[in-house]
Structure formats: C-alpha cells, structure tokens
Symmetry: none
Subunit: 304 residues, 2 copies
DNA sequence: CCACGGATGAAACTTACTTTCACCAGGCGT
DNA sequence: ACGCCTGGTGAAAGTAAGTTTCATCCGTGG
C-alpha cells in the first residue's frame, strides 16, 4: 500500500492529473485501473457516477472510494469536481482565435463574430488603459459644476454625443446635444464661463465639430475633445483631450470599435459625475426609470 | 414563436454563468436567489451539496432542482460539474480588479474606469461567445434578401437601431428606423413577405417595440429580436432571437454594457451582410466616405 | 368572493455515495 | 506443511444526497 499517498496528497501541486499519474504505480491493481480511466479522460470521468466508473474499471464502488482517498480527496464528489475543473482548464489551447485585424474574404460567420468581438473588446480595454484618470477627473469636475453642458458630434459620433446627453440628463444635469451645425453654433455662442462644451470626433478632423468647439471656447466655456487621434486638429481647440484607442484598420468593421471605445469613455465620465452625488443621481435615475415603466409589459416569465 | 428559444437553451455555448444571468429575470423569486448565489461565486457553489445550497438560498432542495432544470441541466450533479469547469476556466482576474458588478462608494476614478472597462469588454466578449452563428447566418440571409428592413428600438436601444439602420443604408440596403411608435406601426403595416423587421429591446419587455414587431409579423415579414433575455416577451413575436450577454447589475453603469453588446451584434450582422457582396458593399462605402470628405479639415498634423 | 394557476416546501422516494465486514490470496515463521 | 497474519477486494448494509410528488399557499382575474 502506498504510504506516501497521504503526504504528497495534501500538497498535490500542478495538475491533479499529473499528480494522479505520479502516484499511479503506488496504487493497488484495482485502483490503478480506476486511475488509468481517470487520467486518460478526466472530463468523461467527471461525468460518470461512481457506480458507472466502478463498472468501467471492473471493480467495486468501494475501490473507487479508496482511490479517491489515495489521491487525497475526501470522496468521490470532490474528485469529480476537481476533475471537471482540471479538464476545463486544459481545453483552452485549441482556441485558434482569429486575432489578426482583418477578416479574410472566405471567412464564415463564426470567424467574423470572433474577430469583431475580439477587436471590439480590445478597443474598450486599451482605451481604458490609456485614459488619463487625472484628465478625466478634471473633466468630471468641470461637468459636475457646469451650468450647462453642450455636446457636439457629427455622423457616427453623433450617436455617442446623443447618448452622453441622455445620460447626463437622466441624472439631472442640464445637457444638450445638437445634431446640426447651425443650432450648435447658436448654442455655443450662448455659453459662458462655467459651462462645458464637449466635442466628439473619431478622426478629430470633423470641421463642424471643431468650429463649434472653437466658438464655445472663445465664449469662455471649458472645452473637451474626445477623439482617437491625440494630434488631430480638434485637440487644438480643446482644454482637455480624451482619447480612444481603437485601431481601425479598414473601413470595414469601420466605426463600431471606435464607437464602443467612445461610449466607454462617456460611460466613465458619466459614472464619475454620478458618483459625485450619489443620492441625487440615484433619485433622478429612479424617477426616470419609473417613467418608462408603464411601457414595459409583464416581465420575463417562464415559458411553457 | 421563437424557434431559437428552445435551441438557445440547449445550445447554451459561451459561458454557463452568462447563460444563467441571462435568464435570471425569467426565474421565480426563489430560483433567483439560487441563481444569484451561483452566479456570484460559481466555484463555491460547485463545492456545496444541494442541501447546503438550498439552505444558503433560503429555500428547499426542490427549488434548487427546479433551478437546474430551468437553466437546462439534467440535475444538480450536472450543474455542479459544469460550474466547476466554468469556474476553472475563468482563472482570469489576476489583479484585484473590482470585478463585482458594482462600484464601491469610495472608489476613485481610476478604479471606476477599470471596472467599467472590464465589464464593458466582458459584455462584448461574452456576447460573441454565446451568439449562435447559425441563427446569425439566417438573419444575415434574411436581411441580404430583404426588400426592405425596418428597425425598431426605443430609448437607449433606439441608438442602436439607428446605428444599424445607418450601417445598412451605407451598404445600399433599404433600411428604416423609426423613433416613435406611430410611424413605426404605420410602416410595419406595409411590410410583407420578403421583408425583415428587427426589434431591439434590452429588457425584451418594451411594449412599443413588441407591438410593432407583432404587427410586422402578421404582415408576413421575418421578425428578428435582439435582447438580453432569452425568455422575455419580445421573443414570442420573433422568428429569430439574438441575445446579448450583458449582466447589468444596478442601474448604475446601466445601459452602457448592454449597448456595447448590442452594437457588437449589430456589427456582426452588418459585416455578415456586407461580406455577402463584397464589391458592391465596398463601392457603396467608398461613395459615402467620399461624401463627407469635404467636412474634414487637413488631416492629423504635428502640433506646434 | 371564488376559482385558478403558479410558486413553494415537506415528505416520500430513489439513487448515489460511504462504511462495514467477511473473505480470499499470498507471505512467513514455525 | 500448517496455521496465522496482512493487505486487497467486493457484497451488503448504512447513510447521505438528489429527485419526485403532492398539499398548501398566495396573488390574479373573473
């Protein structure tokens, strides 16, 4: 009988499988049969019931239990769980993800999905990593104390601008979004010290947005730019620059990754502002949530 | 009736945890208590016995079993094993990241940013993982061959709907987005066989969107739902159901993670459709890009 | 107010797991 | 060679875990 079982069992380093095959020779014949089954296909073993496994190993349940104890487990259920975990962990490698930026012409949908998700998630993560908390802090402060917040964005960035406006509005801040240049310019002309103007442009070259931001600045408002390119023209008219980190390659997947990155930044600012005044923000949010409640039908329910 | 409903239950790719949190709202109160325990700490749950878990969730074993069945498992042992496997796979969080859904009151901006980005990125990844390529394929096919595509979405989901509309429009598909119920209903009434209607609702309970989708369906259009909850009412009026996997916790970070997830799905569909006819799509995209060129100022340049 | 249907837990029941124990085979001292 | 000991083993008993059934409760709508 393996006397060392107890000892090494408590340690049981690296993988459980490795551990088992290590002390395989020290096991009794019947236990070895069990061990071999387990080692050769941990996942399958995890799925079996003790009786099942015993039968497969041409032995009795009692021996399986003994085997469990021999390898340092409390009992069969524990072994089962450890086995499942082990098996799951070693399935990873065969994940041939399509990491390359572009999508090959012959790609099937599954590949497309994987690629897009990868890039999108990446854009979000990398954006967060390079965001300067200090700058964010200042922007949050400016917005928190602003008399009024104007948000500009054209085309795709317009959605983000609009989203930001809605968010701020929902927590009781006075925010506006202008889809067209003329009303935006008009509004910017009315800004003053203590107000904030936010300009969103992925490329940083959208003349409409730049123009409006410039106008706002000359009126004394704090200007904030959100763009992917830290040296683009829009940064020249902004007091604070926040950048996204989407590395769009082709037109193709196009705006989405950058959109997500922009939304993430907007969300950070929003939460930052909301966090400054929890109770007030919470109250406002609850009120707005309640307002749309009547437009919801009976919640999720069991299907037959 | 949503064909994919049953499938998605048995399909249940991606993460089991994600899957569970998706149908959390469709569970009964007692089952929800169990679900929350499981989701919040899968590894711990895997270690518990059914009686243990039941006690912790302040309910009976019977309810735990019911919960197992509700999420598509045969019984408790299977759940346990899957849970263990799942937990093992997500060895991810190496740093003391604030992975828990919520942001602590005292958090500073850097923490907030990290948390948001983490959750956002996660939502995107997990959404992609659980997306059923087969369903996507069918939706892409329907859209590719559609005479006309109507897209509905209210509030936050409206942005996504609008984004989708714009994307499809840019590659030459005839797509419409309606911000209000009445025009949407009017339009839906004019749909017919060969047309496609897409309804977007995070909760899946937005009555306006459901109503419009239903209308579209009775007119013979193919209906597609995009929601976070596979058993929500909207799925009952959809021929195809696509789900996102954002596990929003509190109001707080609120809509953003789900928004990103929705956009990702939309992007996948878009690319899928575009891929069906590369040259035509490329040409359309180039034309539209050129159109806005005059609104850009001299590209990125060195700062003084 | 009652009928209805879903949600729920107590208890009965089944299955899985664990322990006990008797048996067997081989080693070994006499 | 004979008993006697020892570790390995499975049958069976015992215990705990998981599953089903069913009566009850509670909110909903007629």
């Amino acid at each position: 009988m393996a006397k060392s079982a107890k000892i090494s069992a408590s340690h049981e380093p690296g993988g459980l499988i490795v551990h088992i095959s290590g002390l395989l020779p020290s096991l009794s014949p019947a236990e070895q049969r069990v061990a071999r089954l387990v080692v050769s296909d941990p996942a399958a073993a995890a799925r079996r019931t003790i009786t099942d496994l015993a039968t497969a190993a041409e032995t009795s349940e009692a021996t399986v239990i003994r085997f469990c104890r021999s390898v340092g487990m409390d009992g069969y259920p524990q072994l089962r769980i450890r086995l499942a975990a082990e098996a799951a962990r070693r399935i990873e490698p065969p994940d041939a993800r399509v990491v390359g930026g572009d999508i090959p012409p012959g790609a099937d949908l599954a590949q497309i999905i994987a690629t897009i998700a990868f890039n999108d998630a990446r854009a979000v993560e990398e954006t967060a990593e390079q965001l300067d908390p200090a700058v964010c802090e200042q922007v949050v402060e400016a917005i928190s104390g602003a008399g009024r917040i104007d948000i500009y964005g054209a085309g795709a960035s317009g959605f983000v601008a609009s989203d930001f406006q809605q968010k701020l509005h929902r927590i009781g801040r006075i925010a506006f979004y202008f889809p067209d240049v003329h009303t935006a310019l008009t509004s910017a002309a009315l800004l003053g010290r203590g107000d904030v103007a936010v300009g969103i442009s992925h490329t940083g070259t959208t003349s409409d947005v730049i123009e409006v931001l410039e106008q706002a600045r000359t009126r004394g408002a704090v200007t904030v730019a959100l763009t992917n390119f830290p040296r683009s023209p829009i940064t020249e008219v902004a007091d604070f620059v926040l950048t996204t980190a989407a590395r769009e390659t082709t037109y193709r997947s196009g705006a989405t990754a950058s959109r997500l990155a922009q939304l993430t930044v907007v969300d950070c600012l929003f939460v930052g502002v909301a966090a400054r005044n929890r109770s007030r923000a919470r109250k406002a949010l609850e009120a707005t949530a309640e307002a749309v409640q009547s437009h919801r039908v009976g919640a999720n329910r069991r299907r037959a």
